[in-house]
Symmetry: C2
Subunit: 413 residues, 2 copies
């Protein structure tokens, strides 16, 4: 590759077919935000939506808004929109609870569909909450199932006749590495196992075709690439073919076939609604809908194209301008194995990231040595990539990171 | 009792020491809202708080707000404030998930503390989601425990040596009947059982003294008397003495001793935080804090005094003005057995309630024949009680309820 220069990035922005989407978001002034993989930015329309749901629907409509503002169908309505983003059909996705809670529900339900098998398979280093929830399930089932983790290169071979469920995160939160969803799903099914994909770092970031690959279950996050707001509810997917027999343990009243009959006996709703538990988090789900609407209006092929171009250019600039500064690349250079982020390793990664943030360029750090840079094509520009690496080069050249203020570890970054 | 007249109610409002709290809430114009037991009204300050958390903390602060806006301690901070309302100590209450999910966590955890017992005891007609969640737990423990329900008059005798956990709702959602928390808790402990109180219709409505009665566990709702907004997160209480040994199945990353170390192995946080699961629903929990702050500033003794006076007057007016119209009283006339609502029965209850709502007097209906009227002393006036019964008397006298428009059953009321 010839040497890249700033003009090239300016030109790419000029030609970017997604450029107008940036107008839909409110970014803090003078910021380059490369952390949408952790918490997506605020759509401008979220401000008006928050006012509407709080001041009008709650404040004025009160209890009637369950009907008049259709709060009652909010989880399904937003779920159907997300279905279009992840290659599912209407009625296969619903918004509910948190990603962690949704994993518990679906993993427990999956185990009941494979009662004579004893193994849940995942990988070490999977997103922590996924492993923690599966460990909770393991304890709760008193040894009837066990969680087995196998490094990703050996995952295919580890799926065996005793495997009830495979739980993997499609795009790795730390490295940005992407699994081949079709291949692993096929292998799981060959062995009679079920599979659950965590799409937290995929939804709105890379094309996902749940029904094409015949996935069984999936969960995902509302506050990353979907821009649903801090702690937005999660979502879950159950393939139509599993719904009628699905029994999940968190059988709360919103999952009942007729909640307002107020009967003493649980009877699951016929479809995806049986995965609901408690009362819908109305404000959070309403804000999520704003982000989902924007994402649903964008072309996922174009998002992927821009995302890959951005990560490729980022990697090229790292090689071109940071070669002497001790960075490693934790993300694959093969596009098919890469989500929408690039992770660099550096022994002083924490301090370097703090120095970058001080310059209003926001990525994040994950222990022990990972610096993450997320690319969200709807609001990040090519020039942001150039400016990020330019700042990083300056920080390294004058060892700007080597100051006490950048080494102080705070609660969360 | 001598005949009550309107002036008496006006005078009571004039002398009401809680009267100024009504200014803190925004009520729809010309409405009498007697449904705060279902969905509390909006505090005026919630509007500004919604703007702050959405536009500033999310929109401008983005990921840094976990530290700068202290999102990370939000569940505990609001929990500590709720602790003061329910007679618990700081560090015993936390805000999380929904009431239903919280019940699942704590009921499952309680069963692990009584591994050789097999019975969960509740009452028929308990709030549906409580029974549904316990049924879910029963199914998922594959017959190791069973849910037994016993009518409330026989509850004390039904607690036996095989009872692991008693789960009761302190104030009944339908009848407004209130259990004697001290007596039942004592009996449970005498038999070696644990007890979990559902405070959904108690918190902010009646005095609750969890530690005085030595309760083990409790759950509660954020969107009723606490005025936290539609689908606000719930809260849960674990007595200090149980925390160190508490193992709950929904062991997500926010309950980890050190979530951001991102280790592969779950290790529970030392205190109440171990009951957390997924990422905090920041917007919902922030709005809840507004309602909790108002409630924490009010004197619960005065709230109870006004609440009882209102329900007593309501019952007296029903007897005085509606005696010939076929209403029954589903709520006890003994103050100690009454929460903060009065429920009437009527065979045409649904249509009568619709006719009332048409007149902007909002209670609600629960099948088959219950009309509920909730009294929320911080924003309901005595004159509202008079006007409600006055309207009801008119509706009955001219059979206004007997119109097709009032008999059409819509999704939720």
């Amino acid at each position: 590759m010839t040497l890249l220069n700033k003009d090239h990035f300016i030109e790419l922005d000029r030609q970017d077919p997604l450029a107008q989407f940036r107008e839909e978001f409110e970014l803090p002034e003078e910021h380059i935000y490369l952390n949408g993989n952790s918490l997506g930015v605020m759509p401008k329309a979220s401000k008006e939506k928050a006012r509407k749901v709080v001041e009008q629907e709650w404040g004025q409509g009160l209890i009637r808004s369950w009907n008049t503002a259709d709060w009652i169908h909010l989880p399904r309505r937003v779920g159907d929109k997300i279905a279009g983003i992840v290659g599912a059909a209407p009625g296969e996705v619903i918004v509910a609870d948190s990603t962690s809670v949704n994993l518990f529900k679906l993993a427990a339900a999956a185990l009941r569909l494979r009662p004579n098998r004893h193994k849940i398979l995942s990988e070490p280093g999977n997103f922590p909450t996924d492993l923690y929830i599966l460990q909770g399930l393991e304890r709760f089932m008193d040894g009837k199932v066990h969680l087995h983790t196998q490094p990703r290169q050996e995952i295919l071979d580890a799926i065996d006749d005793d495997t009830a469920l495979v739980v993997l995160t499609h795009v790795h939160y730390k490295s940005g590495a992407m699994f081949n969803m079709a291949e692993i799903t096929r292998k799981a099914h060959e062995k009679g196992a079920l599979i659950l994909w965590d799409l937290s770092h995929s939804t709105g970031a890379v094309p996902v075709a749940l029904n094409n690959v015949e996935a069984d279950f999936a969960i995902g996050c509302g506050y990353k690439y979907l821009n649903g707001g801090p702690g937005a509810p999660g979502f879950l997917f159950v393939a139509q073919r599993h719904q009628a027999e699905l029994e999940q343990p968190l059988s709360g009243w919103f999952g009942h076939a007729n909640a307002f009959a107020m009967s003493d006996t649980y009877e699951p709703a016929p479809g995806i609604e049986r995965t609901l538990c408690g009362t819908t988090p109305v404000v959070g789900a309403s804000l999520l809908e704003v982000g989902v609407d924007i994402m649903a209006a964008a072309d996922m092929g174009r998002i992927r194209e821009k995302s890959l171009k951005m990560s490729e250019l980022f990697i090229a600039l790292v090689e071109q301008r940071l070669a002497d500064h001790g960075f490693g690349l934790a993300t694959s250079k093969r596009p098919a194995e890469r989500g929408s982020q690039v992770s660099l390793t550096h022994e002083h990664g924490f301090a370097i990231m703090q120095a970058l943030i001080k310059r209003n360029i926001v990525g994040d750090f994950r222990a022990p040595d990972i610096m993450r840079f997320g690319f969200t094509p709807l609001y990040v520009r090519y020039i942001d990539i150039w400016n990020c690496i330019d700042a990083l080069a300056q920080i390294m050249e004058i060892a700007e990171w080597d100051r006490p203020e950048f080494k102080k570890i705070t609660a969360v970054t």
